[in-house]
């Protein structure tokens, strides 16, 4: 029995019950229902403006719900603030700062409590361990400006790992990185998931989701479908998400078509 099986007890960790978010009169999420068990690796897919980032922002307490409830281990996002690791979209970060890899990872340990300018051995060990986990220990003193897009993404994941939380949210983790770097990041996510962490990744890449993820959450302001990718990604769900732009997904072998259904 591997680590994942040990940790993957089917108790719901994240439960959304009719979750709604509005920005003024504009709905961003409407009546979203799903329940994610511990240790799951979940892809969150949907069109631009479909509510993926809004859902993540609601999960970390950045935007309030207008209706419904969102619970993490039975508590509201604000009650568990700081206990959910979040890797934001890269363009939300101010890359002007010439920081070292170590300084960025250390932010995962920084709290609102005032701390010394100099790190303790325990803090330094935590930073080194997080960088070892993402395979960047030799880059610890490098300037982040010298890193590639894929390496930057791994540094941000190391920052999230240093935080040592049970849930990891990655917003657009695969954007602006080449295919090789995407595969590296996916391997890294798999190994983190094996350690028992619950991982949600917002992505535009709907190819081979059933090979990469345990579950998929399909969003287009409301929850179009949630469950095993090989079961829930039907042409109807794809159309509900992407409307007239469905053709490009229709021929993908991984979608459960009517012919597949009849063969079951």
């Amino acid at each position: 029995m591997d680590t994942k099986e040990v940790n993957s007890v089917n108790t719901p960790l994240i439960v959304s019950d009719g979750c709604c978010v509005h920005f003024g009169n504009i709905p961003a999420l409407e009546g979203v229902n799903f329940s994610i068990s511990r240790g799951k690796k979940v892809a969150v897919v949907g069109p631009n403006g479909g509510g993926k980032s809004t859902l993540f922002n609601a999960l970390v307490g950045l935007v309030p719900l207008t209706e419904g409830s969102l619970k993490i281990d039975g508590k509201s996002p604000n009650e568990v603030k700081g206990k959910v690791s979040y890797v934001p979209q890269k363009d939300l970060i101010n890359w002007n700062f010439p920081l070292s890899v170590k300084q960025v990872v250390e932010m995962g340990i920084t709290t609102r409590k005032v701390s010394s300018l100099f790190n303790s051995k325990k803090t330094n060990d935590k930073i080194k361990k997080a960088l070892q986990d993402v395979g960047l220990e030799e880059k610890i003193n490098d300037n982040i400006k010298s890193l590639s897009g894929g390496q930057l993404q791994r540094v941000l994941i190391a920052r999230a790992l240093a935080q040592d939380s049970e849930i990891l949210l990655l917003d657009e983790a695969f954007s602006a990185v080449d295919i090789g770097a995407q595969e590296d990041i996916m391997q890294l996510i798999n190994s983190i998931n094996l350690d028992g962490k619950t991982i949600l990744i917002a992505t535009h890449d709907v190819n081979n989701l059933e090979e990469k993820f345990d579950e998929v959450l399909c969003l287009n302001k409301h929850c179009c479908a949630y469950g095993d990718p090989s079961e829930v990604l039907t042409p109807e769900v794809i159309e509900e998400m992407y409307g007239s732009h469905t053709e490009q997904f229709m021929n993908k072998s991984h979608f459960r078509t009517e012919e597949n259904n009849s063969n079951d």
Binding site: V60, G61, L62, K81, G82, V84, Y86, P88, L92, I93, N94, N96, F97, P98, L99, S100, Q103, V104, E106, M107, G108, T110, T111, R112, V114, S115, L117, N143, R159, Q163
Partner: protein, 280 residues
């Protein structure tokens, strides 16, 4: 040479000026690296200009510019922060409106209240006129800014680099935002007598920009920025003393010269590393 360096120390007003120049140079250039990496130059300029109405009323009521320092700084920082957050016309536009209207209000108040202020000194600085109490106030402000930056360094860095990440992590980002605005405002108001409303921006931005060109890490850039800031203000004051030049503009020009040297050094360094790569 030593005699030349020690010559200004024969005069009390020069000793006071040198201490004030050191404090202003260090205080502004300590915050400069945060300000330039957050693209806050225009905001800082607006803060300096927005002090004019407060100075007009304060001087009318009998206070000196230094005495007005901390309350004026807090008032300006909170006012600017609230206006920018709550208007949806865009940050630059909101800053531009405050900048010009407050500056205009200051001139109108000076005229209406018949306040006796030397406008040239206010706009370009007149460090030679600082009193002993002004020196104590500026030194206290430097100590305050320095200590707060050290105590909140990691939180300010996190917030400046990734404000959303900082909020998610549970840091009090509203507090950190206003804390930095207040620190910036304190440094600006505390340096008005040294370099004046118009030139205060040069001492905030130029040493930090020069430091960024010749350093690789943020912490080193802060140390080098403070060094450049202090060298600019002290050298500028010496030039003003020996060549009978206005002190504020002299300091700004020394800072600008350092920037040009840093720029050239950066270009040479880059060419050198490119040549090394080509040869290897």
């Amino acid at each position: 040479m030593i005699e030349l360096i020690l010559d200004p120390f024969k005069y009390d007003f020069m000793i006071r000026s040198l201490i004030t120049a050191f404090a202003s140079g260090a205080m502004l250039s300590l915050l400069g690296p945060f300000a330039i990496n957050r693209n806050m130059g225009f905001m800082a300029d607006a803060m300096a200009h927005a002090t004019l109405p407060i100075i007009a009323v304060g001087v009318f009521l009998g206070f000196s510019i230094s005495e007005l320092g901390v309350p004026a700084a807090i008032l300006i920082a909170i006012f600017l922060g609230v206006i920018i957050k709550n208007t949806n016309v865009g940050e630059d536009t909101a800053i531009g409106i405050i900048f010009s209207s407050f500056f205009a209000l200051g001139f109108v108040l000076i005229s209406l209240l018949n306040v006796t202020i030397n406008l040239e000194d206010l706009l370009f600085g007149q460090i030679l006129a600082v009193s002993t109490s002004d020196v104590y106030i500026v030194i206290s402000l430097l100590t305050l800014v320095f200590l707060i930056v050290i105590v909140y360094f990691k939180q300010l860095l996190f917030y400046s680099f990734d404000p959303i990440g900082a909020e998610v992590k549970g840091l009090n980002t509203t507090f950190l935002n206003y804390l930095f605005l207040i620190l910036l405002s304190i440094a600006i108001v505390g340096s008005l007598q040294t370099v004046g409303i118009i030139l205060v921006l040069s001492m905030l931005i130029i040493p930090a920009a020069a430091a960024k060109l010749v350093t690789d890490t943020f912490v080193t850039s802060i140390k080098v920025s403070v060094l450049f800031g202090v060298v600019s203000s002290i050298t500028g004051l010496y030039l003003s003393y020996f060549l009978n030049l206005p002190s504020g503009p002299s300091m700004s020009l020394v800072a600008a010269t350092i920037f040009v040297l840093a720029f050239l050094s950066n270009k040479i360094r880059k060419k050198g590393s490119l040549a090394t790569v080509t040869i290897s």
